[in-house]
């Protein structure tokens, strides 16, 4: 109830973000229901049904990530002094965040169920009824238990992820939770005692995993053609891509995700190298400091973008009007959900970082640092990130698509 009450008074932007989560959840729910419908209509084709279900994992993961980012950025679930004093501390608030995430995801799933039934023609006597019954296999009856289980998957997963990710960390002596500089008195901050893992630690791992993925792809690409009914066939390729090729692609994407924070950090180092002026100094150091927070979603964004570029490379010719179309509307929906979620997550993370810096921004304003300088620093940061990450993404997309297109 409290989460609903807090949502009632929330800023429209916050509500919009939750609505986006619900929409994304609806998209994933729809995809899951479609794969269920296919499985029910074609009881013989277990292999194809399984592949369809497995492909739903990508949008599912993207939505869980987006829901987590939104919950982390939600002002209603930040620890607040007043609420902590009356017993609504970080523990309760993480539960609250999980609840509100589950609510938005369940709303989306319910909407997906309604739309699915409507399009199949199960609701009857409504204008759109049965508009896509051919595509959605409207003849077979839907097993309710299985449908509800699949729809409950996303709320449960995202709520669990929220509860785990937002649970309060272990309290350390001398550092009050939620307050960095606020504690009064001689707050001795032992630097060595809480030295966090540097954000660039993942970079070597990321680079080596990307290299492994590309090498695997190149190796498998030269090997003999795989059995035609091997698992995880790419859509639109009759001969079927072997699991090795797909595994290599996935490894390269994973490497990009891991390398994201490190890349962001070194962008910051590069930016503030030499004898920087105020703008370059602020921009570079901010980038280094927020490398983990911004770099991870950026890495995911890069991975998805390189996947999309590789797909364009592979199927670019097939998008012409003539010839067989490899992508059905459902593949398009899945891809749209993934890309929208990943982009929205990156934007949310950037907003989150800005909000965390609001204290510092206020202090700089008191010193008379003009707002134009801060805006300039933000622009420089985005430009540098773009200049470094965009070519990298393109190169990796080209390299992953090379063996696949042969």
């Amino acid at each position: 109830m409290l989460s609903l009450r807090l949502a009632r008074g929330a800023h429209p932007l916050v509500l919009l973000r939750r609505l986006l989560v619900a929409l994304a959840a609806a998209g994933v729910g729809f995809l899951l229901l479609c794969s269920l419908g296919y499985a029910v209509a074609h009881p013989k084709a277990t292999h194809e049904s399984l592949v369809r279900l497995l492909w739903c994992a990508a949008p599912l993961a993207a939505v869980v990530q987006f829901a987590l980012a939104v919950a982390r950025n939600d002002p209603a679930t930040r620890p607040r002094d007043g609420l902590d004093a009356i017993g609504l501390g970080p523990v309760r608030l993480s539960v609250l965040a999980a609840t509100s995430t589950a609510i938005s995801c369940s709303l989306g799933s319910a909407a997906a169920l309604l739309v699915y039934l409507e399009l199949r023609g199960d609701l009857g006597a409504t204008p759109l009824s049965g508009a896509a019954s051919g595509l959605l296999d409207g003849r077979a009856a839907l097993p309710w238990g299985a449908a509800l289980t699949l729809l409950g998957l996303l709320p449960a997963l995202s709520a669990g992820a929220c509860a785990i990710a937002l649970r309060p960390r272990k309290e350390r002596a001398g550092r009050a939770p939620g307050a960095s500089e606020a504690t009064a008195g001689e707050e001795a901050a032992p630097a060595a005692a809480r030295a966090p893992r540097p954000s660039y630690a993942g970079l070597p791992w990321g680079v080596s995993i990307i290299a492994c993925g590309l090498a695997l792809e190149a190796y498998v690409g030269h090997g003999p053609a795989p059995a035609p009914n091997s698992l995880l066939a790419l859509p639109g390729q009759n001969s079927g891509a072997s699991p090795g090729l797909l595994g290599g692609w996935l490894l390269a994407s994973l490497g990009l995700v891991l390398a994201g924070p490190g890349l962001t950090h070194w962008c910051g180092v590069l930016l503030s190298a030499g004898r920087p002026g105020a703008m370059r100094l602020l921009a570079g150091r901010m980038l280094q400091d927020t490398a983990t927070r911004i770099g991870r979603p950026l890495g995911v964004l890069c991975a998805v973008a390189s996947g999309a570029l590789a797909a364009v490379e592979l199927y670019g010719a097939a998008w012409e009007r003539s010839g067989p179309r490899p992508f059905g509307p459902l593949t398009g929906l899945g891809a749209a959900v993934v890309m929208a979620c990943v982009t929205a997550t990156a934007i949310t993370a950037a907003l989150d970082a800005r909000q965390l810096r609001s204290d510092t921004t206020a202090a700089l304003d008191r010193l008379g640092v003009p707002a134009s300088l801060l805006r300039g620093a933000a622009a420089v940061r985005s430009l540098v990130l773009l200049a470094v990450l965009a070519p990298l993404t393109w190169v990796i997309a080209e390299l992953t698509a090379l063996p696949l297109s042969r």
Binding site: A184, G185, E186, A191, R275, A278, L364
Partner: protein, 245 residues
């Protein structure tokens, strides 16, 4: 409009300010002479911070006038007031409010860098001030690795390194222990006197006020001791107490 007296570097008349309806300043007039250390004392909530913010041009009094070096501040645009704060004023808050990503000397040199001073000159000035304030060994550390006293000294160095005309210090010793408090305050006042910097110091304790040349007391947004507040008489409060009991 009456021109301010010549020896006042900063001069304000009839300052009123209220935070969305709740009054913080109700008619404060004040003059700050060149090179002096002026203490503004008063209990919490008496409007010290608001007065300092008005004087430094962070907020605009409504109504009220602020003059700096015989030029009006209250008629300036926001960007002009920002430039004034950047080039002529220094600000020390009750919390250090350092930029967490920057090292000690970079924090202290930030106002100079923003002004467009060269990197080398800014670094040299900032390091000199850090040495003077006994935090020279913190120059290469981030604020997260320092104690609160060290951070506050870096904040003071940041305010003084930019060679301001007036430094506003809003309870600069609030987060410190007794020994640190005395030392920090003494360094601030000594540095200000030796560099002819005017200091407006908001403080709670009498001890700090003793280091100042002059003391102005604020009570409920008014100059204390000047005119008794007419509507906050004792009788009203007593009546309210008896009703609630």
């Amino acid at each position: 409009m009456v021109a301010p007296p010549d020896n006042d570097v900063l001069w304000a008349r009839g300052l009123h300010y209220s935070y969305s309806g709740s009054p913080a300043l109700t008619g404060v007039s004040i003059g700050v002479r060149e090179g002096e250390i002026l203490a503004v004392t008063g209990p919490r909530g008496s409007g010290k911070t608001t007065l300092l913010k008005c004087l430094s041009g962070q907020i605009l009094a409504d109504p009220g006038e602020v003059w700096f070096n015989s030029a009006p501040v209250h008629t300036l645009s926001r960007s002009a007031r920002e430039r004034l704060r950047r080039e002529r004023f220094g600000w020390i808050d009750c919390r250090p409010h350092l930029v967490p990503e920057l090292t000690g000397w970079e924090n202290a040199a930030l106002p100079l860098l923003v002004r467009g001073t060269t990197h080398r000159a800014a670094k040299q000035t900032a390091t000199e001030w850090l040495e003077r304030l006994d935090v020279g060994d913190c120059a290469r550390k981030r604020p997260g690795a320092l104690t609160q006293a060290q951070r506050q000294r870096i904040a003071i160095a940041r305010a003084l390194a930019a060679d301001p005309t007036v430094v506003f210090a809003d309870e600069p010793t609030a987060p410190l222990h007794h020994t640190d408090r005395a030392q920090v305050l003494r360094t601030l006042t000594t540095a200000a006197r030796s560099h002819q910097i005017t200091v407006v110091l908001a403080t709670l304790d009498e001890e700090s006020a003793a280091l100042a040349d002059r003391t102005v007391t604020l009570v409920d947004g008014r100059r204390g001791g000047a005119i008794p507040a007419p509507d906050a008489s004792e009788g009203e409060g007593r009546a309210a107490c008896s009703v609630s009991a």
